[in-house]
């Protein structure tokens, strides 16, 4: 990797600022060597057969703070929830349309509109914290989420409620 510092990068040039950054980079390098990530990025792929994890990437940057675990998730959203072996929630992230049912296109004047998606495949990522309590992660859809793709589609008469779209172990390998 090369690093071309732009001219405006000179404002970082305060001596103690440079020292600070150099120190963080050193700490990061040590953490890399010690393989002590603070979070894991899980990359999921979905298609007609369901959801699966295609990549697990350790990160030094912490995951974003969990959403409140005591309050129920939003009924119109899909969430990712890390749970303990007993099923207790440890971490929750609300995902922004991870399995899109429509796509956005733009007029040349910048006005967007949506068209139904004909693609049944895609990827999305979730960054979860490294946590000793973590056992598995659940991808769960709220009662107002409507998904056309098999095997996620709800039958019309099905009782609307939160439903699990996928459950994945996190203890496989060093970082889950």
């Amino acid at each position: 990797m090369t690093s071309d510092r732009s001219p405006e990068g000179r404002d970082i040039g305060a001596a103690w600022g440079r020292a600070s950054i150099a120190r963080i980079k050193a700490v990061d390098a040590v953490r890399h060597l010690l393989r002590r990530p603070r979070s894991i990025r899980l990359t999921f792929r979905f298609d007609d057969s369901g959801i699966r994890i295609i990549d697990r990437t350790p990160r030094l940057k912490p995951a974003r703070v969990s959403e409140p675990l005591a309050t129920p998730p939003h009924p119109a959203k899909i969430i990712a929830e890390v749970r303990s072996p007993q099923g207790a929630p440890v971490f929750r992230a609300t995902l922004n349309d991870p399995i899109p049912q429509s796509v956005e296109i733009f007029e040349p004047d910048g006005r967007p509109q949506r068209v139904a998606s004909v693609r049944s495949t895609g990827v999305f990522s979730v960054v979860v914290p490294v946590d000793r309590r973590a056992d598995h992660i659940v991808i769960e859809a709220g009662e107002n989420v409507r998904l056309a793709q098999e095997p996620f589609a709800l039958l019309p008469e099905a009782e609307p409620r939160r439903r699990v779209l996928g459950r994945f172990p996190l203890r496989k390998g060093r970082w889950g």
């Binding site: 090369t2 990359t43 940057k61 910048g110 006005r111 509109q113 949506r114 068209v115 990827v123």
Partner: protein, 384 residues
């Protein structure tokens, strides 16, 4: 097709504002650029970054000083993208001729729907970027083709050279910033749609659309001037998009009916915003969201670094004060503006200093931040 149709030659950090673990990291990838066209690609990336950093709130120094940019250099075997002769929307290719191109990320127009929908192999993009820049926060893909096109997906915003950066910046608003679309139709205001008259769902999760026009409980109530009427506009004919012009000056924050793909029943915070029309800037409410996520992701807020928890009650109180008084554009006396400028330069550096010297956190917390938060609470209680 795919990885056989090109090669990743490396990654170049074109903007360095600090370690990746304490910065917001944007990664740009290209598709359909041959080895001879790498200069074109580099220029396109520079143009995108320049436009992004000129777009509020990315132009605020505390935000821009939190952003690193990485360019993934990819040489495709052939130039351009797949652009079929026919498409379900009945259009023909720009210039009349269909094109096929062997490119690394398999960029293609149409994708079974409309020609302007331009997609890439997102799984390949994400796995490549995971390996090259594991600390990435957002990915933008630029496709070397002059047909207008673009798309957003959960992880990758795509646009063609023919479309320009505005499309991708709008898509970044969705992911990673979690903003909703503010436009008031699904298929377009002239489509004759009949299913989008009234929004009947509950309060949306997203921070920039609402069904609540109560000043006391409105999500963005802190940004609404006391003299601004709520709702600020209403749509008198819910069978179509509201055609009235804005009754308030540009940039006014209020509640404007028509949002979240519906003509009525859902409100947006500003008459125009990048989440409504991509050629506009983000409105102040969306700017607040972007600002907060970039700065928190980059750990550049001093109080967050000192407490180690962005949601600590003291941090919330101080953040609220900071957003009112130290954010760019906040009103205030000359002295406060000087303080704001000093904070925007000094804050990220002090935060990083604390991160590498955790022993600084406790004394700073006890000597400065806890008394400060207590003072702000007393003042708030006094006003209440």
């Amino acid at each position: 097709m795919g990885v056989a149709d090109g090669v990743v030659t490396g990654v170049t950090q074109i903007r360095d504002r600090g370690p990746e673990s304490t910065s917001w990291n944007l990664v740009v990838v290209g598709d359909g650029f041959t080895s001879a066209e790498q200069t074109v690609y580099q220029t396109a990336v520079d143009t995108f970054v320049t436009e992004l950093l000129a777009s509020p709130p990315f132009d605020e120094s505390i935000v821009s000083n939190s952003i690193n940019v990485f360019r993934v250099d990819v040489e495709s075997n052939e130039s351009g993208a797949d652009n079929p002769a026919t498409c379900p929307d009945g259009t023909t290719p720009f210039g009349g001729a269909a094109t096929t191109a062997a490119t690394y990320f398999d960029a293609e127009y149409c994708s079974g729907t409309v020609r302007r929908l331009l997609t890439v192999d997102e799984a390949l993009v994400v796995t490549e970027v995971n390996a090259l820049v594991p600390e990435w926060d957002a990915i933008v893909a630029i496709v070397n083709h002059y047909e207008w096109g673009g798309a957003g997906s959960p992880d990758v915003a795509v646009y063609s050279l023919g479309a320009g950066p505005d499309v991708a910046i709008h898509e970044l608003g969705h992911e990673p910033f979690g903003l909703a679309d503010e436009y008031e139709s699904y298929a377009g205001c002239s489509s004759g749609e009949t299913t989008q008259d009234n929004y009947t769902g509950g309060e949306p999760y997203e921070p920039n659309v609402t069904i609540d026009t109560n000043r006391a409980t409105l999500k963005w109530g802190n940004r609404v001037d006391a003299t601004t009427a709520l709702p600020t506009t209403t749509n008198s004919d819910c069978t179509q998009c509201d055609t009235q012009l804005s009754p308030v000056p540009a940039g006014t924050i209020g509640c404007f009916e028509g949002a979240f793909y519906h003509h009525c029943g859902a409100f947006r915070p500003a008459f125009d915003c990048k989440m409504r029309v991509s050629s506009f800037d983000f409105c102040r409410v969306c700017q607040d969201v972007v600002h907060g996520i970039v700065v928190q992701t980059a750990c550049c807020f001093v109080a967050t670094a000192v407490y180690g928890d962005p949601w600590h009650p003291d941090v919330a109180v101080i953040r609220s004060w900071r957003d009112r008084h130290l954010a760019s554009g906040a009103p205030g006396r000359f002295g406060m503006r000087v303080l704001a400028a000093a904070y925007q330069w000094f804050g990220p550096r002090l935060a990083r200093r604390v991160l590498v010297r955790p022993r600084l956190a406790a004394p700073l917390r006890a000597a400065i931040f806890q008394p400060w938060a207590a003072l702000l609470r007393r003042r708030a209680a006094g006003r209440g």
